[in-house]
């Protein structure tokens, strides 16, 4: 194709956006609104997912050492623990430290246990084992239990299993929702674009009757679809970027980062990827919706 012709198509595509006035508006706003929804959900879901991972990563195995074990035997046990697969780190925690940690972890409720400090301390010394993957905790705990000089292994089984279960369920729900939303949006956008193009079917037919090739008819629609999609993705991107900025600042300002032990996805990273994704999505759906709709009317 000659460059001249390409220019002509680009010009026609842009002109057509203008002349179809409110139809263009209808299409762009469908893209805007659908992508806004997708972007919003994606932001929320990605953050929830990241938070869930952070929570999961807090899980650890506490291996209580038999009170009868000697220093050497403790060392052996430590080595054995380190050799277990998926073990990332093994840290010694004395019984005093253990009780301190426990009382602290209970927050205000820990006060009643303060009386246990000193010789009444019911806790033995322990190793805290961290795994490289949260889900390995369970296997590591089982393996640790089989080792010598291990009194008790404690990884909050109920809590951890419940946590993994809930997180899994939530992740699956989230995935279903986001995929459903994505398809819905694609469908609705394509549907809208299709309707605007059907309203112009006579136009396409006439072009064909006057001797235009399929490609010649299609090109301006390609450009139009592209512009629709890209234009439609700008507002959602801006809104989400600004909104996320607000939420992010608020989250840090309120000190939730430390308070809830979780971090949000960093602002720059989030907006960069989201922006790219939304523009890409808009452009692809726009072009695709446009071209597939035109195709039907080319058979003239």
């Amino acid at each position: 194709m000659k460059l001249r012709t390409l220019m002509r198509h680009a010009k026609e595509g842009a002109k057509s956006l203008g002349r179809n006035g409110w139809m263009t508006f209808a299409s762009i706003s469908a893209v805007t609104v659908a992508l806004l929804l997708v972007g919003l959900f994606l932001t929320v879901m990605l953050n929830l997912n990241s938070i869930a991972s952070q929570v999961e990563n807090n899980v650890e195995v506490r291996v209580f050492i038999d009170r009868t074990a000697t220093k050497e035997q403790q060392e052996t046990l430590k080595n054995q623990l380190q050799q277990l697969s998926h073990v990332k780190s093994v840290t010694f925690v004395s019984k005093e430290q253990g009780l301190e940690d426990f009382i602290k972890s209970m927050g205000d409720d820990g006060d009643v246990f303060k009386s246990m400090k000193g010789k009444e301390n019911p806790l033995p010394d322990a190793f805290v084992v961290k795994t490289d993957k949260p889900k390995e905790t369970i296997d590591v705990a089982k393996a640790a239990k089989e080792l010598n000089y291990v009194d008790e292994v404690n990884y909050g089984r109920d809590y951890v299993e419940k946590l993994f279960h809930v997180v899994d369920i939530l992740r699956n729900i989230g995935l279903v929702l986001i995929v459903g939303l994505l398809f819905t949006s694609i469908f609705l956008i394509a549907n809208t674009i299709k309707l605007t193009i059907v309203a112009r079917r006579r136009e396409i037919e006439i072009m064909k009757l006057v001797g235009a090739t399929d490609a010649f008819v299609r090109w301006p629609y390609f450009i139009e679809g592209l512009m629709l999609g890209v234009l439609g993705s700008i507002i959602p991107f801006l809104l989400i970027a600004i909104g996320y900025h607000q939420v992010y600042d608020w989250f840090i300002g309120k000190n939730y980062q430390t308070y809830l032990f979780v971090k949000l996805i960093p602002y720059e990273k989030m907006t960069l990827y989201l922006g790219g994704l939304l523009v890409l999505l808009g452009a692809v759906i726009g072009v695709w919706g446009s071209l597939t709709s035109v195709r039907k009317f080319l058979k003239v």
Partner: protein
């Protein structure tokens, strides 16, 4: 002379069962001027639409310039249509384009040099007396003006054949004669003209070959004929 258009036993029935053309065979030579006459609904438009593949015949062969166009692949159809300038009975102007752009479109399609486009479009607009409407949109034109735009578009890219479906139906006699003079001129320059018409006065005064169709069949075919379709 060479056969430009040849139909061999062509039939056409529409999807709803209407038999519009029932076995037509005809030869039209290069450079001829042919009137197609016949009562309303007799099949003139269908006959014309089959020449540029708007409609595909149910049976039979149609040769244009030696190739059987009923066998054309979808991709080749545009190139057939570029050889044929059509004045549609319902004008078929692009509603979102101005008069100027509508005519220019027929030139852009053949990737004509933009420098020539402007000149050629203004030339044909002048011929049909519509230079002053160049920037109007089709829905801002009177019926006859729209018809003249359709005529201008049909001749702008110097087609081998001009096929006109009642091109003077919405024109006053004066404008109608202007159009007929244009057709006669391009015909003298070698363009074949096929024109369906109800205009008795034109057919009888500008004497040419007349093909009369009734109920989808040719009932008369006279060189130097006159208006009428009683066999």
């Amino acid at each position: 002379m060479i056969d430009l258009i040849e139909m061999q036993d062509v039939w056409k029935s529409y999807a709803n069962g209407v038999m519009a053309v029932n076995g037509i065979s005809v030869h039209i030579d290069k450079g001829e001027f042919v009137y197609i006459v016949g009562p309303s609904g007799s099949g003139k438009s269908t006959f014309i639409k089959m020449m540029y593949r708007e409609e595909l015949p149910t049976r039979g062969k149609i040769f244009i310039d030696g190739t059987d166009i009923t066998k054309l692949k979808q991709k080749q159809i545009p190139f057939l249509r570029r050889k044929i300038g059509v004045v549609f009975q319902d004008f078929k102007l692009l509603p979102k384009l101005t008069v100027y752009e509508n005519i220019a479109f027929a030139l852009e399609v053949i990737e004509e040099n933009p420098r020539n486009i402007r000149k050629k479009v203004m030339e044909v607009l002048d011929l049909v007396n519509l230079k002053h409407k160049a920037r109007s949109f089709p829905n801002e034109l009177s019926g006859g003006e729209q018809q003249r735009v359709s005529i201008a578009r049909s001749i702008v890219n110097n087609p081998t054949v001009v096929v006109a479906d009642e091109p003077t139906g919405n024109l006053d006699p004066e404008n109608a004669w202007t159009i007929m003079e244009i057709f006669e001129r391009i015909n003298n320059n070698g363009t074949t003209v096929v024109m369906a018409t109800h205009n008795k006065e034109i057919v009888n005064r500008m004497v040419k070959r007349v093909i009369a169709i009734e109920s989808g069949m040719i009932v008369r075919d006279d060189e130097q004929g006159e208006y009428g379709y009683e066999a």
